[in-house]
Symmetry: C2
Subunit: 198 residues, 2 copies
Amino acid sequence: MTSERRSKIEKVLSKRQNDLTVVLENVFDPHNISAVMRSCDAVGIQEIFVLTTKIARHEKWGPRSSSSAAKWLTVHQYTDADECFHNIRQRYDRILTTHLSSDAVSLYDTDLTQRIALVFGNEHAGVSDEIRAMADGNFIIPQVGMIQSLNISVACAVSVYEAFRQKLVKGHYDSQKIQGAEYNTLSNQWGIEHENSL
Amino acid sequence: MTSERRSKIEKVLSKRQNDLTVVLENVFDPHNISAVMRSCDAVGIQEIFVLTTKIARHEKWGPRSSSSAAKWLTVHQYTDADECFHNIRQRYDRILTTHLSSDAVSLYDTDLTQRIALVFGNEHAGVSDEIRAMADGNFIIPQVGMIQSLNISVACAVSVYEAFRQKLVKGHYDSQKIQGAEYNTLSNQWGIEHENSL
């Protein structure tokens, strides 16, 4: 590994945010998932949750994946919603779905700097009632146009970039969040060997 | 036309922003252009500029278009860059390209509430040197990940939604911007007949 590459990896790891994640519920189009992964990587999200209860489990992001963004993310796959949410709640204080309901608040009125998980639903059905019931609330991306639908990769990008903006203002990228064993595990996975690793 | 439909159209027209536009330079993938159009419609952009100097002119968004967002946008197509920019400058004070250059400023440090045109380039080559030379500056979408590339539809959505957020804060959606003959022309195109039209 060149020192330039090592430096790049260390810089990216120093910006990773362990208090923001994305959950995909029964999103079936691999292109959408890849685009979501690229957006997550771009804003420093390290882990995402891919839940498939009504469609086949995705096989694409296994260890031999050729998808480039997947290589730099920790992808948790679940086929059981309870197990998935149990594990999300271990690390995140709040889980919000994107659901067009009367109690949904605007993305721009949502504090995205807390420990938060954002759930995006299936391309056609959106977030299911079951998952919605397990979450803490809903948010919407405001729209003032004739067409009331944004592609999931667009909706996710707009949401995580608003989180990025809020976090930037609050200095979330100024100091390294991932530390110790978690840092060493990741940097080992990314090809950096540690002389003083745990 | 039902009164509900008429009311919807009037509401959307009342939010249309005549001081923000998107310019696509040699973007070739129709899916990307469609996604850009949906994002533009969603934030209230009325007109966009599609410039094709190095690829074939797009035929898809003519009067018989089946593309849904295109129906609600005014799409100006050009094959000559000078003519395109001449017409953009008639209505917009500032033209910014997305170009990874040393003088590029962050999207989040850019005032998107002025009369502004945002230029997005070809999927592979980005914005050309020719177009860059004709613009007033560059902006970048900050990225802190390993993969340094966002799809053009994602980049455009993040940019126009940041404009939406800034405009929302400044009250740009509180009063109707499109008035008089421009309003009547559009609402006629959208199927509303005016008893007192000009």
